[in-house]
């Protein structure tokens, strides 16, 4: 249930049950990196309230093999679009509790614009293209989380004229 893949010298992508350590990920983006002036990262956490119900935990299912492939594609696309130097992307699967960390995306770049845009882009595409599914435990039992139109619409901001 764990897969670690390097897409180039400086990128790291992992799908794993284990938790991740943000300090360690930040250090990996920053250590021996004299050229980058900007690091942007995102972490997704399990929220107590979702789609109108109190949630006590969730299970993350994925499609092994395709997940890693989809994440590599998304990171590769971001690298082709912005001058970013290091990317670290970790997504957890399995059983998680409230406030647990779900996903980490960290990007370093010379300048902040590329780091912000690439990090945001990776999350928007992950939300729409990477085969993960959340099943929540609520007071009314278990339920699969519904995909939201707003996540699909979030991709519009990345459309360019030649798309």
């Amino acid at each position: 249930m764990s897969a670690e893949t390097n897409t180039g010298t400086e990128h790291y992508i992992a799908v794993q049950q284990a938790d991740f350590d943000v300090a360690q990920e930040y250090a990996a983006l920053r250590n021996n990196n004299r050229c980058d002036g900007a690091v942007v990262f995102f972490t997704g956490l399990v929220r107590e309230m979702n789609q109108g119900s109190a949630v006590s935990g969730l299970t993350l299912e994925h499609y092994p093999g395709m997940t890693e492939k989809a994440l590599q594609q998304i990171v590769g696309d971001a690298c082709a679009r912005w001058p970013i130097n290091r990317v670290r992307l970790i997504h957890r699967v399995g059983t998680l509790e409230i406030s647990d960390q779900i996903v980490f995306v960290g990007v370093s770049s010379s300048h902040r614009e590329a780091a912000f845009d690439a990090c945001y882009y990776i999350m928007d595409y992950l939300k729409n293209r990477a085969p993960f599914w959340k099943k929540e435990v609520t007071g009314q039992g278990e339920r699969w989380v519904e995909a939201l139109d707003k996540d699909k619409q979030a991709l519009n901001k990345w459309q360019t004229c030649d798309d």
């Binding site: 997704g44 299912e61 499609y63 395709m66 779900i102 939300k127 599914w133 699969w144 519904e146």
Partner: protein
């Protein structure tokens, strides 16, 4: 041919995969139609938009995409990770 299912669709169909007799190559539309015939009670869950499709672990939007013998084919609901 073998087809994989994930998440809510896996639970609703009651199986993680199924075998469907179908001459290949066939279009994604043809495979989807055969799948609907195989699961008539869950037809609405398998329509385009409700069930996404992947061929060889790539998300496919084009229903004319061709599936060849040996391809890995999967159907699943819209994704909700992140």
């Amino acid at each position: 041919m073998n087809i994989l299912f994930f998440a809510a669709l896996r639970e609703q169909l009651g199986c993680a995969q199924c075998d469907i007799a179908l001459p290949l190559p066939a279009s994604l539309a043809t495979v989807r139609a055969a799948l609907i015939q195989h699961f008539p009670q869950q037809a609405d869950l398998l329509t385009q938009g409700r069930a996404l499709a992947a061929i060889n672990q790539n998300l496919i939007n084009d229903e004319n995409a061709v599936i060849n013998s040996g391809d890995e084919v999967a159907f699943f609901p819209p994704v909700t990770g992140g």
